[in-house]
Structures are given as structure tokens and as C-alpha cells.
Assembly symmetry: C2
Homo-oligomer: 259 residues x 2
């Protein structure tokens, strides 16, 4: 299986099968997940095959190469996708927030390591019936295509960050991305003074950004010294001026024309 990262993965418990079955209509991600475009009449078919699982912080969801008999939507919590080289260097390649989709229809081996970084609840679909539904329900496959294209856009922006940004710009970009996504979850627009919670440890941020954890720590301190951010504990960041942060990130002023 090749050498592993030094990071401890708590492989302790099995994932908990959550007994209760949330009704789709009451689901917090009803209008943003892969099922978003489905009509109410189509929901029963989804209800029938879905089941919930929960994972504790640090717990592995799947390990790259392992068999994976389901695909899933993140209902609550944060998970990461990572890839590693044989000598243990690891790079995060996906950050899964609520409504994001996990797994690839048409592939039964996981391509990446997926790990919960907070408590995570997944809405799972067994692979086979889900594939059948994809074939029969255009709303579902259309939405999946849309989400995949969005992920591809995000991956390409991430590539620009990894290939061409300085450490300081990377940190500023990361905080800005998290701020935007948290704002979107709460249906606000980012801007002005706001507070965001970083869902990752310094090490995980480093794996996201292609840096070492020491460099992450130093640049966070530097942004603090510069008055761009304020720290509340280690994991909470206050942004006195969101636009100021965006300037530090090296991006275009407004984030551009991608709707």
C-alpha cells in the first residue's frame, strides 16, 4: 500500500449507521446537492435507496484504492480528499463541504483518501441503484454534470494557486475561499467585517496549499501583524476588511465573472 503520511488517521471506529431517516423535504441541502433539480415527485425514489452515515473528526471515510460501494452527499461537516506520493508527501485535492458530492459513479475503487475533519454526516446511495437512477432521471444527471463542471473550475483555480502564488497569497486566498463558502452557506455576500471559522488544522491547510505547516503558521502570523486578519483562538479569524484580504490573495479585485 506504500508509505503513509505521518499524520495520524484515527481509523478507530466503524462509521456509525445513522438509524433515523431524514425526509428529503427537510434536508438542509435539499436545494444545493446532487438532488437539487429533482422534483418532489422524484424524491420517493431517492428516499428509498438512501441511508445516512456519520464519521468522527479524523476518521477515514475511504482509503484510496479501496472498494467503495456507495456515493454520497455531504449533509453536514467537512471532509478532505488527499493524494500521497510514496514517500509520504501529501496534497489535498478536494475540500468537501455540505452539499458536495463524494465518489464517482462508474468507478468502484476510491481514487483518493477521504477523511472527515469535523463530525460529518453523509447521505449515501448504493452505487448500483444510483447508476440506474442517473440513467432514468435527467434532473439528477444534469445536476451532477453541473456540479462536476463547478468542481473542475475550482480545481483549475486551485492549480493557479499551487503553481504561481506566493505563500502569503496562498494563505490569503485560502481564507478568502473559506469566507466565501461560509457566506454562501448562510446566503450572505462576503464583504466588510466578518468572522470565519477555519475548518482545517495548520497541517491540513499546508496540504491544501502545497506548503509546510511551519510556513502556514508564519504567514498567518504575518497577516495578523499586517492587520489583514485578527485571530480568535487558533481556528477563528476575524476579517476587518474582506476586500483588503482579497487584494493580498493576488486575484482579480472582484473574483471575476464566473457566476
Amino acid at each position: 500500500m506504500s508509505a503513509q503520511t505521518l499524520t495520524q488517521i484515527k481509523s478507530s471506529g466503524r462509521p456509525a449507521d445513522v438509524p433515523v431517516k431524514l425526509r428529503c423535504e427537510d434536508c438542509p441541502i435539499r436545494y444545493r446537492a446532487v438532488c437539487a433539480d429533482c422534483e418532489d415527485a422524484e424524491l420517493p425514489r431517492l428516499e428509498e435507496i438512501k441511508f445516512y452515515r456519520s464519521y468522527e473528526p479524523g476518521q477515514a471515510i475511504v482509503w484510496g484504492g479501496d472498494h467503495m460501494d456507495f456515493v454520497a452527499s455531504v449533509v453536514t461537516g467537512v471532509a478532505t480528499l488527499t493524494q500521497t506520493l510514496e514517500d509520504g508527501r501529501t496534497q489535498m485535492v478536494g475540500l468537501l463541504l455540505p452539499s458536495d458530492f463524494l465518489g464517482r459513479p462508474g468507478r468502484d475503487k476510491a481514487a483518493y483518501n477521504a477523511v472527515a475533519t469535523t463530525k460529518v454526516v453523509l447521505c449515501c446511495f448504493r452505487r448500483k441503484p444510483f447508476n440506474d437512477m442517473l440513467r432514468d432521471m435527467p434532473h439528477l444527471s444534469h445536476r451532477l454534470l453541473e456540479m462536476t463542471l463547478d468542481e473542475l473550475d475550482a480545481a483549475r483555480e486551485w492549480m493557479l494557486l499551487l503553481g504561481r502564488k506566493t505563500a502569503r497569497e496562498k494563505i490569503a486566498s485560502f481564507i478568502a475561499i473559506v469566507a466565501r463558502r461560509e457566506a454562501a452557506l448562510e446566503k450572505r455576500h462576503p464583504g466588510g467585517r466578518m468572522q470565519v471559522e477555519l475548518p482545517l488544522t495548520r497541517e491540513a491547510m499546508a496540504d491544501y496549499l502545497g506548503l509546510t505547516l511551519e510556513t502556514v503558521s508564519r504567514q498567518v502570523s504575518a497577516l495578523k501583524r499586517g492587520g489583514i486578519i485578527e485571530l480568535v483562538g487558533k481556528r477563528n479569524v476575524v476579517l476587518p476588511d474582506f476586500d483588503r484580504l482579497v487584494e493580498e490573495s493576488g486575484d482579480d479585485s472582484d473574483g471575476g465573472w464566473i457566476s
Copy 2:
């Protein structure tokens, strides 16, 4: 429009509209492009709306932010997708070879700069009718989803390269990727002694890999000195031992379990 890269983009000519209409059945990418899963009976509808365009080496296909009224498959040639920061730093985010898809259905502004690096022929579809066909023809949308998922996988491998590999590993990885894709086009398997043509200048390779062109040049020389590669001119590379090259790339030995 913000600062630009120093690279000259020959915006000289308009794209040539190619008058002849290749029949889909005779198309070199018939079984690998977005139309691959369509049945023969479905082809007439595609034939009806498609048209061909060709571009000269160095010519821009679209500029990020510009209106784009078509999507397309690359029939022959090589094109690149790039993103740039305001100060001119540029990162390649896509390398389009024959059969690859260009453009995003459902977005009429280009998100990236697309430039032909060799002579390129595109098979174009006007946006609107193509969207309609996506809705009506499951074979088409299913194939597009599959291709998009493949691109996402490629982007994530690329992220690992950008974030965690050394300059030498990046160069070795790039040559291995090109070798594999050229082998696939000719329906061979990579391995043993083989020759590959690099479709990019040193500068474009640098933009691909998140390096400077000087570093690219130095590492190519270093691989030559080490006997990993031999040069035939500047753009052709002989690989005496493909597996040896893969070792230098830092990847798993066999390229892994992604089918």
C-alpha cells in the same frame, strides 16, 4: 484588461472556417470525443449543426472573459488553457489533445484563455442547439459527464504535481504524461524504448508545471545527462526506458488503478 504575459500571442488572423464538412463516420475522433457514445442514427442531428474551424500555431481561440458562442471538440492538434494573475504570472490549467472538449455548456463567457500551440482543427457546435441536444440525447450528456470526470481526475493529479513535486519530478512526469497520451492515440501501451514529440515550447512547459523556463531547460538537460532521456532536436525525446522515467516522476510504479 489587466497586464498580460510577455508571450506573444499571434492574434493576427481570424480563425479559418473550414468549408468541407467531414462526415462523422469518417472522423478520426469518432469513438473518443463527446459524440463517442452516440449511435449512428443520432449522427445526422450532430452533422446538421456542426462546423469546422482551424487555427494556426500561436493563434488565440478565445480569450478569458470573452463571449463564446460555441463549444467544440479538438479534432487534430494541441491547444492550451491558461489562467493569469494581474501581474502576468500564468498557469496552464488544461492541455487539449484530439478528442478533448472545449467550452462549458451553460456558460457563454470563456473562463480561460485558449490558444493553439500547433495547427488545430475544431469541430464546433453552436451553444444553443448543443444544449438542446444535451437535453434530448442521454448518450451525449452521459459521455460529457464521463469526460468531465476524467478531466477532474487529471486536474487532481496535476494538483499533486504542482503542490508537491520537485522540478526534476515535474519534468519527468510531464514527459511521461505526453508519452502515455501519444501512445493512447496510437492505441499502443507505453513501455520500453519509444520516441515522443513534445507539443509545447519550454515556456509553455514551464506554465504547465509551475516553473520558470530556465528551470525547465536545466532539468531537461539534467535528465539527458542522467541518461533518462535523449534529445532529437529540441522538441523530440527518445525514452530508452519508459519505466526508468516513471521512477523519476515520483509516481507509483505502474500509474495506479485508475482504469
